[in-house]
Amino acid sequence: MIENNEMPNEMPDKATHNVLIVEDDTTLRKQVCFAVERYYTVFEAQNRREAVRVLKNTDISVAILDLGLPPASNTPDEGLKIIDYIMENTETKILVLTGQDSEDVTAATIRRGVFDYIAKPVNMEKVIYAIERAILFRNSEQKISEDGVKQIHVSAKLGDGLQSIREEAERKLIRKVLLENNYNIYKSAKIIGIRRENLYYFIKKFGWKIMRNVV
């Protein structure tokens, strides 16, 4: 994990946003960093372990994510695991920038709720533009959130009934509120509008551990 301390010299209003670049190819990562750090504070990771470490310690607005990462560089597995981690634990918007452009892989990322999917090679203007849009969406979602509206991403297969969708929505919403409130049960229950006993019930049901001070 490397933090590039050189601050962007343009668009100072955007400089408050952190962008994580997850790419195992050092040569490419350095170039993407150079292009992005003109506008944002950039963090780098070359594998899942480093990416999760950054995500745990820093509020990342946008993650530019390669899917083919070691130890399985020829499959999208590692990238998909990072997407799962981000969707479950953070508010980070994900831009997939990958050479793995098969329909199955694209569908797998879209189902998980990534913000954008860009196949390599691509003009960097498009990447910068996608980051801008992702930040715009994130800011808007945060404003909406201040009004008590939470956005969650749920993928549903038609014909499977409503039970699984309901459970998935419950799980994601409660997890999101708990994380945002550092597992403060009283506050989280109040925000969601349920009793504390019910919140404990959900925590037990979904098998979560109460982890305070987890960002």
């Binding site: 050189e6 010299n9 190819d25 050092t26 040569t27 490419l28 350095k30 170039q31 993407v32 960093c33 150079f34 292009a35 003109r38 070359q46 594998n47 899942r48 372990r49 480093e50 083919g68 070691p70 130890p71 399985a72 560089s73 020829n74 499959t75 597995d77 920038l97 050479g99 390599k120 090679p121 691509v122 003009n123 960097m124 203007e125």
Partner: protein, 361 residues
Amino acid sequence: MSFKENPAAFMASATLVVGAVAAVSICYIKALTANRFASVMRELSVFNEQVHYDTAAFLSGIPVYLKKIRVVDFAYTISHGGTNIKKELSCANPFITKSCDDGDLMVSFSMVPSFRSGGLKAFYELMLEHIFLIIRQDVLMKIRTVNDTLTNVLKVQVFVQHDIKNIAQFIQTSYYNLQNLKDEADELRYVRYLKESYSPLMLKANKIINTLNLKPSDKPPAMMNIKIEAVLEQLISLYHLKCDVKGTGSVYANEGTIFLIFDNLVKNLYDKYLEEELELSIEIIDGDGMIRVCAFDSGSHIKDVDKIFEPFYSTKNGGSGIGLFQIRAHVIKLGGTVTARNVENGVIFEITIPKSNVHAA
């Protein structure tokens, strides 16, 4: 009592003798027939071997052998994946046939014997079975070989595609960055980034060229003294690994080859390190005429440790099985050896490379 006195006894005895002679003759003829059929079956097997188990060549050559057992005509159909090879019967005589259809592959073989007595029928059926099995085995073997080849080509393609797409993206991004350089400070920063990219870029180019077996030039590769500890430290730094390197040693060889060998070794450690918490250490031993590099990791044992240097063999998810094979191929070319062994608390990879022709540093 003579036969004259008892003609009935004479007749009985004569019948017995004639019967015995006939039986012996039949047995003899059967034995001759069996021998002929067995001989043709063996010849067919040998012929199949001579044509290198090529079904088309086998089928075009069998009329000679079938003539020996008086087969007047034969037919076959082989159908796989939309491809059909077919020969139909040219006469309307009775025939015997054997076929199988497992959905993906259909094989059928028929033959017309010149005559079908009860005794010979069994021989012809045995011959039919034999030829059918040869054809089916050959076809299955060919399908498997082709499938394996295609799978391996695909592995190479995926392996290289990943790097080539990244290089294409690198070029696109470099172009963008060069277009947007604002001032001298920006330019200096950019040059610094490029310098950081130089080693990994060279490694990547080297890997692609070696994987595709391209020859960058007709000239013999440049040889130089290479410090193994410096190569390893550079690679360990590139992969952000925590790994002690003890000892020193130099070899006189092509830099690209040495980097390729140890890049694959360190990459292998790195992949394992990402899956497990590992302790890593590398020791370089400067021996008599040889440099020995022992890489230890405290991770889980390797399954089928004897197979891991075989091409396209991998125990990793999505692994191409190219990296370790490349190590072995290049180490052997240099006159060295490479082994991997499971030890009590981990795994040791050991590479020896002759340092002959080492120039004084």
